[in-house]
Each structure stands twice: as C-alpha cells, then as structure tokens.
C-alpha cells in the first residue's frame, strides 16, 4: 500500500514566500495556486467532549460546518452560526455522531483560526508534477506562523528528497501530526482544559474528617463550575450537573455526619437543602420537555392539539422558572449561603468525634456494611402491596450506597467492588424507571385543568398510559430486589467490606 512521506516543518520567522520559491526553483519549476484564506470557528461543549474524543467541529461558512475525526476524515453538515444542539444540525452522519458525542450538551464557539494556504506543484524537466507542497500561514493574535508541507508522489520519491534538501535553510523545526488540532494546541484554549473534577487523593489511613472535608470542597467547586451555564441557560446539563454535585455533597455529609462537628452539619444542611430545592421545579420541567417526543408518540394524533397546548404552557413556565433560578443563583442570598458552606468545609479538622480521627477506609467499610444490612431489612418488608414511598426510600438508599462506593472507590478492592457497583447500577435503573413513572404521573396530574378541555384530555390519556406502564414495571422491581439481595450478595458484602486489609482478592 501507499506509504509515501508527507512532512511538515515550521519555517523560520524571517522567511518569505519568495525565499521558499527561490530555494526550490534551482532544481524545480514551481506552480503556485492562488492562496486561499479561511477563518475557521471551532465549536465544542462545556466538557470538550469533541476534543477529548479526537474530533473537531468547525464552521466553514454561514451555512456549513465540518466534523474532522482523528483519522483525518471530514464530514460536512448544514447549520447556522447560532447552532447549539445536535438536533439542530441537518440530517447527516455528522448529526448522528454529534448525538452520541455531546448528548444534551450545547456546542459553543471556543476558538477561531485564520489560515492562509497556498498549494505548490514542483515539476521536473518533463513538466511532470513530482512533489506537492503547501504553505500554511496561521495567524493568532497578530502573530503569524508559517508551515511548509511536502508530499512525495508515488514513483517520484527521489524528487521529494531533493526538495527537502533545498528547503532545509528555511526550516525552524519539524512538526509531527500537523493539522488543525496541532494549530489549536498552540493556542492554549481555556475551553479545552479538563473540567472533570477529580476527588483529592485519599489514603486508607487518612483520618475521616479531613478526607471528607477535602472531598466536600472539591464537590462544591465542581457544582460552582456549572452555575454560569445555568444562568446563561446554555443547556439543561448545567443544571443537572449542578444538582448532581450538590446531591452528592449532601449525601457525603449525611453519610459521614458522625465524623464532622455538629455545628458544621447544622450550618450546611439547611443551606444545601435550600440550594437544591430552589432548582427542583426547573429540573422537572426540563425532564418533561426533553421527553416531549416520547409523550407525543404515546398518544394518537387527535390528541396533538391538547399536547401542543400543554407544551406551550410548560415552555412558558420553564422560562419563568429559569429566570427565577438564574435570579436566585445571581443573588446575594445564594452567594452568602455558598460562602458559608465553603468557609465551614475549608476549616481545619476539629476532631470533635471519635469517627473524625478514625482511618477513613475503616469507617467507610463499616458504613457500607451497615447500610447494606439496613437495606436488606427494608427490602424484606417490600411486597407487591407496598406503597410507592417504600420503594422510593429504598431507591434513595441505593443511591447513597453507590455514592459511598464511588467516593472511596480508590481505597476499596477494585474488582470485587466494581462488580457490586455494577449490580447496584442495574437495580438503580429499574428502580429509577419505576420512580420516573410515579413522578411523571404526579407531575402531569398537577396540570389537569377543567377550563382547558383539550389539554386535560391529552393529560388524562398520558396519565392512563403511564399508569399502565407503571403497573407493568412493578413486578420488575420486586424481581430485581430478589435478584440483588441474595445470600451470595450478603456473603460478598461481608467478605469484601469486613476484611481487615485492603487489596483485590485474587
């Protein structure tokens, strides 16, 4: 197969186009095509999903975007500059790829690049093109950097070698993997820096209070990162991630409250609860709107107008609620609450309780066992007649159990804990689906309004369908609980988390 050399060099600052032509023209006739200038506007989401997956999305003109993958393949797609979500791109393979890569995230402009490219052909005595070249001038903030690429042609490799030799006096350095990604890397783009927080490194003999404080501060910082996106209403993931981080923080504090000073718990709990509750309604509305296509598919077409009325009402409410949340997150109240939480968590450890100074791994293992046995008892009390609240309570317990494993995953035996976490995740999905039906029924029922007949008809239709689905889901819950809480699982928990030493069992 064809493996001909293509190489790029950065040129010395003082080099001009004419210098290159002079250097090469001693052995070749050169043709230069007219230079093409382009400004590429690059887009990515908050998490830089595209960049990290090896993709670049950029706008090439008013109506057109290109997606460049790691192997150099370019796909085109139609969209305008104000495009944000994958579903706003025209039907194409790019749209499908973006759906997988960015999910519910919005893409935003992150950087732009001004390029001036001139293609050259180097000809031999027969006037046959024997080497191809490209001069790329990249302008960033007034500074222009020049690169020269030479491409050998099949059957004419010796000419390539000569061209490289002639070019040598102009060269500053060889560039590996030249391309748009290389040019962007030179720009130190803030938006591409990793934002995924990593929990502070823990050691198994670290005392519990400082360990919890360090993790809590990291979670609070992470939550704070998303506030700007919530206020700007960039995408629904900002609010979701903000809430996830606050929820994790509340779980951490609640799970390990005995390792923290009571006064601190008293200061944190109501504040974090208040922050979380202020965003509940907006999240409910978001969830409903994100699922609107599913709802529409559930009902016959003649319910369409009622659904449209419902959506426009919910969209209106969402707008109001979003303004309310944005107002709250910009308020002095919120800032003051957050400042108090940060100040409390950042203080030096007080070691007021025995647990505070106990090694964290010991505490966590004990806690995992305790919680597991508590959940085992709760599960035993659940049967087909149990109220939804009982299932909801157990769902919350599963969430906390999984968080506890996640928070301290680095200290726990990796393989066996991973298996347990996998099983917890599976049952969480089933419990989550059941809970979603309960919440959706409650949410939709609250909109039934006798003065809006069409809308209420659609709502009643949806509630009836969801109720049916909920009934179908219920036996799955009991089966999943029976599958999870087996004798083997109890033995596994006792073995993995009661063991005196850490380390993976072979």
């Amino acid at each position: 197969m064809n493996s001909l050399p293509v190489n790029t060099w950065e040129l010395n600052e003082a080099i001009k186009n004419t210098d290159i032509l002079t250097a090469i023209s001693s052995e070749f006739d050169t043709d230069a095509n007219p230079a093409t200038a382009s400004t590429l506007q690059f887009y990515d989401d908050f998490d830089a999903h595209l960049w990290h997956a090896g993709y670049l999305l950029y706008q090439v003109d008013k109506q057109k975007f290109q997606l460049l993958d790691h192997s150099g393949c370019i796909d085109e797609v139609k969209a305008t500059s104000d495009v944000r979500f994958w579903w706003e791109f025209s039907e194409s393979p790019v749209k499908n790829k973006l759906q997988k890569l960015i999910g519910l995230r919005a893409v935003l402009p992150i950087a732009s690049l001004n390029l001036l490219e001139t293609d050259f052909s180097l000809r031999n005595d027969n006037q046959k093109i024997v080497v191809k070249g490209r001069l790329t001038q990249s302008a960033v903030g007034g500074k222009i950097t020049c690169y020269f690429t030479l491409q050998a042609l099949r059957g004419y490799a010796k000419y390539y070698t000569s061209a490289v030799r002639l070019l040598r006096p102009c060269i500053k350095a060889k560039v590996n993997d030249f391309g748009l990604r290389f040019l962007l890397m030179g720009q130190a783009i803030h938006a591409l820096e990793p934002k995924q927080y990593s929990l502070p490194p823990l050691t198994e003999d670290m005392q519990t209070e400082p360990a919890v404080r360090a993790m809590a501060v990291a979670m609070l910082d992470q939550a704070r990162l998303h506030v700007g996106g919530v206020i700007a209403d960039t995408d629904t993931e900002f609010l979701h991630q903000f809430r996830v981080n606050i929820r994790k923080l509340r779980s951490l504090i609640s799970l390990l409250k005995k390792a923290l000073p009571a006064t601190m718990i008293d200061a944190l709990r109501p504040r974090l609860s208040s922050i979380a509750s202020k965003t509940n309604k907006l999240r409910d509305l978001d969830v409903f709107l994100l699922a609107q296509d599913n709802y529409r598919a559930m009902l016959p077409e003649n319910f369409g107008s009622g659904l449209t009325e419902l959506y426009s009402l919910i969209k209106k409410q969402r707008k109001q609620e979003k303004n309310k949340v944005a107002g709250y997150l910009s308020s002095d109240n919120y800032r003051a609450d957050l400042a108090i939480c940060t100040a409390e968590l950042s203080q030096h450890s007080a070691y007021q309780t025995p647990m505070a100074s106990t090694p964290v791994l010991q505490v966590v293992k004990k806690l995992l066992l305790k919680r597991y046995h508590k959940m085992l008892a709760m599960s035993a009390a659940i049967d087909s007649q149990s109220a939804d609240e009982k299932i909801h309570e157990l769902r919350i317990e599963f969430k906390k159990l999984r968080y506890l494993i996640e928070f301290f995953a680095d200290l726990l035996p990796k393989r066996r804990t991973g298996k347990i976490a996998g099983k917890i995740k599976k049952i969480q999905t089933i419990l989550g689906n059941y809970n979603d039906y309960c919440i959706q029924i409650e949410f939709l029922s609250s909109y039934v309004d006798d003065t809006r007949i069409e809308m209420s008809k659609a709502l009643s239709g949806l509630v009836a369908i969801l109720h049916q689905k909920k009934l179908e889901e219920r036996p799955k819950v009991e089966n999943a609980l029976a599958d999870f809480f087996t004798e083997n699982m109890t033995i596994e928990f006792d073995l993995v988390f009661e063991a005196a030493k850490t380390g993976d069992s072979k």
């Binding site: 197969m1 064809n2 052909s121 027969n126 006037q127 046959k128 093109i129 042609l153 099949r154 059957g155 004419y156």
Partner: protein, 250 residues
Amino acid sequence: MKVIACYSMKGGVGKTATSVNLAYWAAKSGAKTLLIDLDPQGASSFYFRVQPSSKKWAKRFFKAYENLVKHIKASDFENLDIIPAHLSFRNFDTLLAGFNKRKNRLKRVLKGFNKEYDLVVLDCPPSISHLSESIFIASDMVLVPVIPTTLSERTFEQLMAFFKDNDYPQDKIIPFFSMVQAQKSLHKATMEAMSARYKIFLNTVIPYSSDIEKMGVHKAPVDTFAKSRQASYAYHELWEEVSETAKKLA
C-alpha cells in the same frame, strides 16, 4: 473494484483518448483510479507525462501483484495513478502463448489492487491476441470505441463473433460511437443502422474534435485545457454513463 478495458482491434479509433479522459473523470469524481497502459506505444503514459522507470520488465508483469506495484506512478491529478507502458510490453503475447490457463493471470494479478483502487482502466493495444483474451477475462467491461464507418462496423462484428465463438460473455462488450462527424451522412447512417442492430451502444457520442487531437500538444486530458468545449463535456458524459453501467454490473 471494477476493471474497464478500452479495447478495439482496430487502431486510431480513440482508445487512448478514451482511457485517459475516462480515468481522469473517474479520479475527479472521487474514485481511486489506476490506469494501466498496456499499449507498448505508451500514448496514454505520454498524455500524463509519465515515463517508465525500469528498462525491461514485461516478464514480471504477470508474475505477481507486487511486481506491478513497484511501477505505479502518481499522475498530476488527485486519485489517479498510472502504470506506464514499456516497449518490452510488445512481448506480452509470446509470454502468454502456449498455456491456456495463463489467460487468467491478468485477472489474478489485478485482484491485488482491490484494496487500493476503486477502478482499473486498461488502455489496450489494437490487436486480437492472447493478451486481448486475458483482458477480456480480467475486465468487468470492455469499452469499445466505434467510428461509424463500414470498416469499423465490420471490425465490431468480428469482435462480437470472437466473443461468441470463444464463449466470452458478450454482455461485457459496451460499444460507443467515437470520432463522430455529424455532418457526414455515412456516419449518420452507420450509427442509425448499428444502433438498431445492437441495442448495447451507449447514448454518449464522442465527436471528432481538434481539442482531442490537441491532447498530444498539451500532454493532458481535454478538460484541463479545453474546459467548456464539446469534447470535454462528451468525455464527462461518457464517464457518467459508464459509471452508471458499471454499477448495474455489480
């Protein structure tokens, strides 16, 4: 990968011009194309300014794909490579003579290009020989330029008969009218008669054109120096029709 041979047992009918312009348009449309110049006169290599690199290599031509690969040269155009002709190719027939199974060799050797190319265009020498038979076996389509004259008609009939007598699939033969002078009543009449007799002629007609003759001066496909001229349009149309026909062969 498809293999298209531009073939006629008669010389001077526009085989090379067809091979060159067809390969050019195929490459331009995005198909990775290899043009193999089998005619020892090397006219299509000349049109692309490509010269053979070694002194004598016909013997190795049919041996293995690896031998051929070394002789591939890039053209000036994206997606288009060439194996230039060599005077030693005149010995092909001696090489292929004797053993019947050797006729499959070309097909086997070309198979090696499957991964790298979408299309192989063979510019064939004007003769009916062992090499031609190898070409008939190796090709998915035998594209035959026919000048609408009595003599050409006779040659075409001979080709059809040859295919029939030797059990080569006649549906591989795709003829089209070449070097047509619309003002000549003989050309018109022959075209009408042949089209009526053989329903297999392509719709595209390549006109007689001084632009095609000028390929020798410019050493390049027509489109590069006579962009908006009739001959250039005709070859583009021919490629479109040939590529549609090739798709149906799949």
